[in-house]
């Protein structure tokens, strides 16, 4: 068994695809019709065969209260790793992305949290370089 996909619930799949590709820089991997929605995944440009991120419709009635509670407490839906957190945050801010948590040192990692405009908060993490 291995991990091949993880997911975030998104308000609008088309808008999410736009944000996750044009703003965050992921690449479209799969776009398959599934009922009135799509099986829509993106992957990092540098790791196209790696774990995919599924942009999952947020229509189920449990999703709203679940996400509202997480967002109210500032808790991210998922977390992405970057090489240079400060540079990435500056790049995203330049594109109009809003951060709920500016870059900060949190124990062994450095992290920040932004709003993905699709209903979620997303964490960015930079791990210390191996000595």
């Amino acid at each position: 068994m291995r991990l091949y996909v993880t997911s975030v619930f998104v308000d609008d799949q088309a808008k999410a695809l736009d944000f996750y590709t044009r703003t965050l820089g992921f690449r479209l991997k799969r776009d398959v019709p599934a009922g009135d929605a799509r099986w829509l995944t993106v992957v990092p440009a540098e790791d196209p065969d790696g774990v995919e991120l599924l942009l999952e419709p947020a229509g189920h009635p449990a999703v709203g209260p679940y996400r509202d509670a997480l967002v109210a407490d500032g808790i991210p839906a998922t977390s992405f790793q970057v090489e240079d957190l400060d540079a990435e945050c500056a790049r995203l801010r330049g594109l109009g992305v809003a951060f709920t948590m500016a870059p900060m040192d949190a124990g062994p990692v450095r992290m920040a949290v932004f709003d993905d405009t699709c209903g979620n908060l997303i964490q960015l993490v930079e791990f210390p370089k191996a000595a």
Partner: protein
């Protein structure tokens, strides 16, 4: 200030984690629960659960030492030191203004 209000402030202050939270929110206003938890872990190395930190924030809020507001869909916390000044003025003051 009533005795009940004094009790709330002194009880809120009678815990090191809550005193650190006040300091942190005074230095960095407008933090989410997630951010307070991350800072607590980073600065104290303590692995307090989110529920525990949330309870500490509630106690501080009831004492008037933390104010909450909405920033978009997110709840943010800021320190309010005015109850400390009231306590100093109305009760502690008579003991510490002698010298």
């Amino acid at each position: 200030m009533t005795d009940a209000e004094l009790d709330l402030v002194f009880k809120a202050l009678a815990d090191p984690t809550r005193r650190r939270i006040i300091e942190r929110l005074d230095d960095h206003p407008g933090q989410t629960l997630f951010e307070v938890c991350a800072a607590t872990l980073a600065e104290d190395g303590s692995g307090l659960s989110r529920q525990t930190i949330s309870q500490h924030l509630d106690i501080l809020e009831r004492a008037g030492l933390v104010r909450t507001a909405r920033k978009g869909r997110t709840k943010i916390h800021t320190a309010d030191l005015s109850p400390l000044r009231l306590v100093a003025g109305c009760w502690l003051g008579r003991f510490i203004q002698e010298d």
